[in-house]
């Protein structure tokens, strides 16, 4: 097994634990925004889409690259914007939140 692959597997396994740990205390009211936020983060596939699109030359790779970049950008932009719209709604409550006992 190459060193690079070994490193990748290490990141993969550690990320699983971090991913689980980091959201383990989320209250129910944030389930939807959190889902939407993680949805935006997997838009990182745009990095992959740009990598494959960058070197495109044949009609097949050009078509694949174009569609992949378009879909991935939609995921990133739409994901973050829609999450922000949801969380905007909580904005007015932050001040009040501090005076009420947190659950």
């Amino acid at each position: 097994m190459s060193n690079e692959l070994l490193n990748e597997i290490t990141f993969f396994v550690l990320s699983i634990f971090v991913g689980i740990e980091v959201i383990s205390k989320v209250p129910t009211i944030l389930h939807t925004p959190l889902m939407s936020g993680t949805n935006a983060i997997h838009g990182i596939i745009l990095v992959g889409a740009i990598v494959i699109a960058a070197g495109a030359s044949s009609p097949v790779t050009i078509a694949l690259g174009l569609v992949a970049v378009t879909l991935a950008t939609t995921n990133v932009v739409g994901g973050f914007v829609v999450t922000d719209r949801m969380l905007e709604m909580f904005k007015g409550r932050q001040a009040q939140k501090q005076t009420t006992p947190t659950k």
């Binding site: 690079e4 990141f11 993969f12 990320s15 991913g19 689980i20 980091v22 959201i23 383990s24 989320v26 129910t28 009211i29 944030l30 389930h31 939807t32 889902m35 939407s36 936020g37 993680t38 949805n39 935006a40 983060i41 997997h42 838009g43 990182i44 596939i45 992959g48 889409a49 740009i50 494959i52 699109a53 960058a54 495109a56 030359s57 097949v60 790779t61 694949l64 690259g65 569609v67 992949a68 378009t70 879909l71 991935a72 950008t73 990133v76 932009v77 739409g78 994901g79 914007v81 829609v82 922000d84 719209r85 949801m86 909580f90 904005k91 007015g92 409550r93 939140k97 009420t100 659950k103």
Partner: protein, 462 residues
């Protein structure tokens, strides 16, 4: 240069983790989203320096980014708050599709005999990404009501889906063995797309949030797999974070509904079950319905009113009318609170978002555990467009498909006003005994119209 890129990816990964952490606390959630978005920008910019762009490459990247930004931003800005769940499904689906296409492009580039360690993640990404894409589109169609929200089932469905899954598994092995024949990818993609559709069809509209969350985790894993193919650290870490946290979130969501994930996925929930409890209500029992004036008077002279908002309130855009009624009652000295079931609306947390939009004070929103003991002291439980979350058969009818789901104890209030468009069963498709309760008064009509009438009636009751 490589070192700089790796460091930038590390920064991006840290920002994603911090962003996620913030997103799971009410205080920092909005910042968390910005932090994650900043991580995304860093990862994107850091990727550019090492690439060798062809002129066609630059063109398609620019075109793709322009179109994607326009579609994403406009879609996300224009969508009504009630339609947000299907929007999330859509954005998730396109991400899954992109992951599958990236993997296809990589496999094509690798040629006839890719190494197993590269071919395997690519194929994994193609299969999972395609399932996520197709499944999300069906979820979108169901929530957007482009197709029926009730489960679509037929005899032997699970067997057919099982065969599909087995066929995909067989194909994966064949592709790994003979490798890189473009036709085989296409067949594999088609099979995975079909499975994605077939897998979501039998799941009822009320369970879509859980499905979307699961498919969200799938997309994360597909992205991570694409990261292995491209040897890209950012993709692996971000994709895995989403895959892991998404899986946990999926479990939390089905827990909030008091059901197991397997039951959500394979239970064809909301299909009219021939269970005794589901039929019990149909035997011509009578319901009482009241006029706006009667109900308005009752509300005006109550001491404690608990509003139970549901999806009917959301679709009628009645959150502002509800707040108006609540404020009016409060000015008369009535104590008003809102009982928020964990899955009120169509997604956990959805109702909180809608009510916050209407400037309902945060202290009035009570979670289920907090308010359930207060119903017995309430004069009126005002149920606005909710149904399944107050259905007592979840508590006392073991044959009912929602048996075991935690519900709001609205039936313990002294009076129950059930505002509903019709006697039609709710999203889960089950009859509700509470409508036949002697303490219950039905008030039929669109939630917004009805609330507006009640506002007028309460004013008149002075």
């Amino acid at each position: 240069m490589r070192t700089a890129i790796s460091l930038a990816y590390l920064v991006a990964a840290v920002l994603f983790i911090v962003g996620l952490k913030q997103l799971s606390s009410p205080k920092g959630a909005r910042n968390g989203n910005f932090i994650a978005a900043a991580g995304m920008v860093i990862a994107l910019v850091a990727t550019l320096p090492l690439l060798n762009f062809t002129s066609a490459g630059v063109t398609i990247i620019l075109i793709g980014i322009v179109i994607g930004t326009a579609v994403g931003a406009v879609g996300a800005r224009m969508v009504k708050m009630t339609a947000i769940p299907q929007m999330v499904a859509l954005f998730n689906g396109v991400g899954g599709g992109a992951a599958a296409l990236v993997a296809v492009a990589e496999l094509l580039r690798m040629g006839q005999h890719p190494a197993f360690t590269e071919a395997f993640p690519s194929i994994f990404s193609i299969v999972i990404g395609s399932i996520s894409f197709a499944g999300s589109m069906v979820a979108f169609a169901k929530l957007q009501e482009l197709m029926t929200g009730t489960p679509i089932t037929y005899p032997g469905q699970q067997v057919v889906n099982g065969i599909l899954a087995a066929a995909i598994f067989g194909f994966v092995i064949a592709v790994l063995a003979v490798a890189s024949v473009p036709f085989s990818f296409i067949a594999l993609m088609v099979l995975a797309l079909v499975l994605g559709v077939a897998f979501v069809l039998p799941i009822g509209g009320a369970d879509m949030p859980v499905v979307i969350s699961l498919l969200n985790a799938f997309t994360g894993l597909a992205v991570a797999a694409s990261g292995f193919t491209l040897n890209n650290f950012a993709l692996i870490v971000a994709g895995t974070l989403v895959g892991a946290s998404g899986s946990l979130l999926t479990k939390m969501m089905s827990d909030a509904m008091g059901r197991s994930l397997a039951n959500v996925l394979f239970g064809a929930f909301g299909k009219s079950h021939a269970g005794a409890a589901a039929i019990a209500g149909k035997e011509g029992r009578s319901v009482r319905s009241g006029s706006a004036e009667d109900i308005g008077t009752l509300l005006a002279y109550s001491q404690r009113v608990i509003i139970v908002p549901g999806y009917g309130l959301a679709v009628a855009q009645a959150q502002h009318a509800a707040r108006e009624l609540a404020e009016l009652l409060e000015r008369r000295g009535v104590e008003v609170s809102y009982a928020i079931h964990p899955v009120a609306g169509r997604m956990p947390g959805h109702m909180n978002v809608l009510l916050a939009e209407a400037n309902v004070p945060y202290e009035q929103l009570k979670e289920m555990d907090e308010i359930n003991d207060e119903f017995k002291n309430a004069d009126v439980a005002l149920i606005v467009g909710a149904n399944d979350v107050v259905n007592p058969s979840a508590r006392n009818a073991p044959g009912s498909p929602i048996y075991g789901m935690p519900i709001l104890n609205a039936d313990q209030a002294k009076n129950i006003i059930f505002m509903k468009r019709s006697m039609r069963p709710g999203f889960a498709g089950i009859d509700n005994d509470l409508m036949y309760d002697p303490k219950t008064v039905m008030f039929f009509g669109d939630a917004k119209d009805s609330l507006t009438k009640l506002v007028a009636a309460v004013k008149a009751a002075a």
